[in-house]
């Protein structure tokens, strides 16, 4: 129990609840169930990007191309639908686009050894450029209404998309807990040499992380198109930084090796909620980014200070123990005789 309470996810979740309650003193509407459902609904796109990003960050990499991958996948999704492809096939095309785009990142990082930030920054440009080339720079507007109906369908008054993403997240979490190779993401990020010495295929693990990141960006694209009903050129633009921020906010270390699906989910929810709260407080939308950045910084600093004081206390205790036990009280030769 204490472990859960002490975790970063709990800290962020508690902050989220506090923030919503605080805003409710100004504007009661924030506590209406429909409001809360809407917050979750509008966090789905970011949440999927964030879960994908988490795999990469676990292995001590970074993927700044996820927004562009989502954009490119959305374009392919729109093309497929407009070409008359059945919905499942169009979805598959979007997911495949995302996965392949992610694999390209993985190949560059693993096979050629390009630093992750450089590799994904380059593909960020390439994928965004490709989007423009494919569409000639114009929005894809006439997406069949069938896809839009996906987003408005509600089950138990919750949009079906929420249920679907929830299912994806839970399945991913269960697989992460159950599949042995899932631990490799942690091992490779925590101590790559150590993982290699134990016979773990570190290169394949890193490759898989980028592929998953792309795949989740593809899923995010499907959710996005369904929710807004067309594909604007800016799809996913700037979202890569938000995804990284959400991962960090949720407690995943950029140094690799720590983090859970949970962290990504909570981080994405929190960042989305901050945007919504601004609306309820009638703060102009132009403040959103500044406030989100300030919130991220304060949470990370607070967490760092808490952890440092914990660590210092442990170090002092350990040093005292060492000093007590390490006196040259007895030599080995004497101990034997």
């Amino acid at each position: 129990m204490m472990r859960i309470v002490k975790s970063r996810e709990f800290l962020v979740l508690a902050l989220l609840v506090t923030m919503i309650l605080a805003v409710s003193t100004v504007n009661k509407a924030v506590l209406y169930p429909i409001t809360l459902i809407n917050i979750v609904n509008s966090s789905l796109f970011l949440m999927l990007l964030t879960v994908g990003q988490m795999f990469v960050i676990l292995t001590r990499g970074i993927d700044v191309s996820v927004g562009a991958i989502a954009g490119l996948s959305a374009v392919i999704f729109g093309f497929a639908l407009n070409a008359g492809a059945p919905l499942p096939l169009a979805m598959l095309a979007a997911l495949a686009t995302g996965a392949v785009a992610g694999m390209v990142n993985g190949l560059g990082v693993v096979l050629i050894g390009v630093p992750p930030i450089i590799m994904t920054l380059s593909t960020l440009g390439i994928y965004r450029g490709l989007m423009r080339v494919l569409t000639g720079g114009s929005w894809i507007e006439q997406v069949p209404p069938s896809i839009k109906s996906l987003a408005v369908t509600r089950v138990y008054s919750v949009p079906v998309m929420v249920w679907v993403v929830l299912a994806v997240v839970i399945v991913t979490a269960v697989l992460m807990a159950r599949i042995r190779a899932a631990r490799w993401f942690y091992a490779v990020g925590d101590n790559r040499d150590g993982a290699f010495l134990l016979g773990i295929n570190a290169a394949a693990t890193e490759f898989a992380a980028y592929a998953f990141s792309g795949l989740f960006a593809g899923m995010a694209a499907v959710v996005f198109v369904a929710q807004i009903g067309f594909v604007p050129m800016q799809t996913g633009s700037g979202q890569e930084l938000k995804a990284i921020a959400a991962v960090v906010l949720g407690g995943v270390s950029l140094m690799g090796g720590t983090g859970r699906i949970w962290s990504a989910v909570v981080g994405a929810l929190f960042l989305t909620a901050v945007d919504s709260m601004m609306i309820f407080l009638k703060v102009p939308g132009s403040w959103n980014n500044a406030v989100a950045g300030a919130v991220l910084l304060s949470v990370v600093i607070a967490d760092y200070l808490i952890r440092r004081s914990l660590r210092n206390r442990q170090a002092v205790a350990r040093a005292a123990e060492m000093r007590g036990a390490d006196g040259p009280t007895m030599r080995m030769t004497e101990a034997r005789s």
Binding site: R183, D190, G194, L198, S253, A319, A325, T329, M332, T333
Partner: protein
């Protein structure tokens, strides 16, 4: 105890050669590690000890020769192939996943189902005496337990050969005692242990047999019975030590009343206790100590790199409190770090820019003059005989010896009155080494005080006017004129009863 000679061989090396860039590091060694024995491997710096270990564990391939494991020919391209043949190395720094749980650390990378792996890990941990919370993170348990985690990892892989590299260097007395018991329990199961240590008393206490490497060949391989620390030291020392000792020219006696350029009074830090010493102008004080004795930590504490220190440091007759590297440099103290790549040189920049870096850092001028920098660097390039095509040559492309001279030039660019040189000749060739020795002599002739830290006892014996020995964080003094190589080595290698402790600080019990 079983007769050692009747046990089957676990690992056999036959006529192994290893040549790097045309320089033989191993010259046709033969070696046998038998099942159920603890076999100590000894050797000084550059003896080929770590190369031998790397060949056994699959990190290096031998240039020539045969490796046999359990009587069968083996050839390893990478460490995991050695694992598959039952060879597991516990490195000096355990390869722990600090953020993962102890259980995950133990079972990571294993085949088989999780439940049976966990059951096996628990059983082996009980047997070995690893009693920690399996849910705790790997980074939160003590170094001793991290080492046990590594040993259990090896056993989970059915290791028949365990290589323990300096396993006792960061353990407390109590932990060393229990490790000794665990080693015995392992050999009773027929496991062969290759035990690497600098501590001769532990070697003699724990091992069945000892092999000593010197200059790439085995000079001794014998059962431990009948061996003495003195015999081991003699075997480890270079055969040409007579000439090395004689190379030191007779120097005029230093006047004891010249004011010290560097003085430490009761300095204590993380890895050393109550260190006092004085360094006078024109004097070379040698600080001998094996890896892990606390000598580098002492140097970093003096130079203000590690601020967690108590005691006083005086430079040029003034006490320096709130030390930072910058403050020390301003006071006239220069420091040559042990690891030149990590801390000494700008590898990707022209050599001239490393040489001028410390002078520029303290300089008053706001604007840089390329020509002045070049002239400044050229002065040192000539004086130190640095071999390069131009002062603008990128440091990465220089040889190790010339890189070291560049770093030395950077330290000397400040005209220091005292210099601390930490392992000044590590990894450089013989002629560069002679140049470094010459530079040290020139410095002392000019009245600079030099503190040389080295784990090469022959180097200390050759250079130093006075010798201090650091051992497990405590400094002991060898009497004047009593600095034969054997005496320095005996003190530094921790041979029981040999160190002439004249300074025995109070130690909290």
């Amino acid at each position: 105890m079983l007769d050692a000679s009747t046990r089957p061989a676990a690992v056999t090396l036959r006529d192994i050669w290893k040549v790097f860039d045309g320089v033989p590091v191993l010259r046709g060694i033969d070696f046998e590690l038998r099942a159920g024995e603890v076999h100590a491997l000894l050797g000084g710096n550059g003896s080929g000890k770590s190369t031998t270990v790397k060949i056994i564990t699959g990190a290096y391939r031998p240039t020539e020769g045969r490796i046999e494991v359990m009587g069968k020919l083996a050839s390893f391209a990478r460490p995991s192939e050695a694992h598959a043949r039952g060879i597991y190395m516990v490195p000096q720094e355990p390869q722990i996943f600090p953020s993962l749980s102890v259980l995950e650390n133990l079972t990571m990378g294993l085949a088989g189902d999780a439940a049976s792996n966990e059951a096996r890990a628990r059983a082996l941990a009980d047997e070995i005496g690893l009693s920690v919370d399996f849910a705790a993170t790997g980074g939160s348990i003590s170094i001793a337990n991290q080492q046990l985690v590594e040993i259990v990892r090896g056993l989970m892989r059915n290791a028949k050969v365990l290589i323990l590299d300096e396993p006792t260097s960061s353990l407390t007395r109590r932990e060393v005692n229990s490790l000794a018991l665990q080693m015995r329990a392992l050999t009773a199961r027929g496991i062969a242990i290759l035990f690497i240590s600098h501590r001769l008393d532990e070697v003699l206490e724990f091992s069945d047999r000892v092999s000593v490497l010197r200059d790439g060949s085995f000079v001794l391989s014998a059962p431990v019975a009948g061996l003495t620390p003195e015999g081991l030291i003699e075997a480890m020392l270079p055969s040409d030590l007579g000439q090395a000792g004689a190379a030191r020219p007779a120097r005029p006696a230093l006047t004891g009343d010249s004011a010290p350029v560097l003085e430490l009074r009761g300095l204590s830090g993380r890895a050393f206790r109550d260190v006092s010493l004085t360094l006078r102008p024109g004097e070379v004080v040698g600080l001998a100590g094996v890896v892990g004795s606390g000598r580098t930590e002492l140097a970093e504490a003096i130079f203000g790199i590690d601020p967690e220190v108590t005691g006083e440091v005086w430079i040029g007759g003034q006490q320096v409190t709130a030390r930072t590297p910058r403050r020390c440099m301003e006071m006239g103290l220069a420091y040559l770090p042990e690891d030149r790549h990590a801390h000494g040189i700008f590898l990707e920049l022209p050599a001239a820019q490393t040489i001028s870096a410390s002078a520029l850092a303290l300089g008053q001028r706001a604007l840089l003059s390329r020509r002045r920098e070049e002239d400044f660097a050229q002065g040192f390039i000539g004086r130190l005989r640095i071999k390069l095509t131009s002062a603008q040559q990128v440091a990465r492309t220089l040889s190790g010896g010339n890189q070291q001279k560049v770093v030395l030039a950077k330290a000397l660019a400040l005209n220091p009155r005292a210099v601390i040189l930490d392992e000044p000749t590590r990894g450089i060739d013989a002629s560069a080494r002679q140049d470094v020795y010459r530079i040290i002599r020139e410095l002392t002739d000019a009245g600079v005080g030099v503190l040389v830290i080295s784990s090469e006892m022959a180097e200390i014996a050759q250079l130093a006017d006075r010798v201090l020995v650091m051992k497990r964080g405590v400094l002991s003094r060898l009497g004047d004129g009593a600095q034969s190589l054997e005496q320095i080595s005996a003190a530094a290698f921790d041979a029981p009863g040999r160190a002439t402790d004249t300074q025995n600080p109070a130690v909290p019990s």
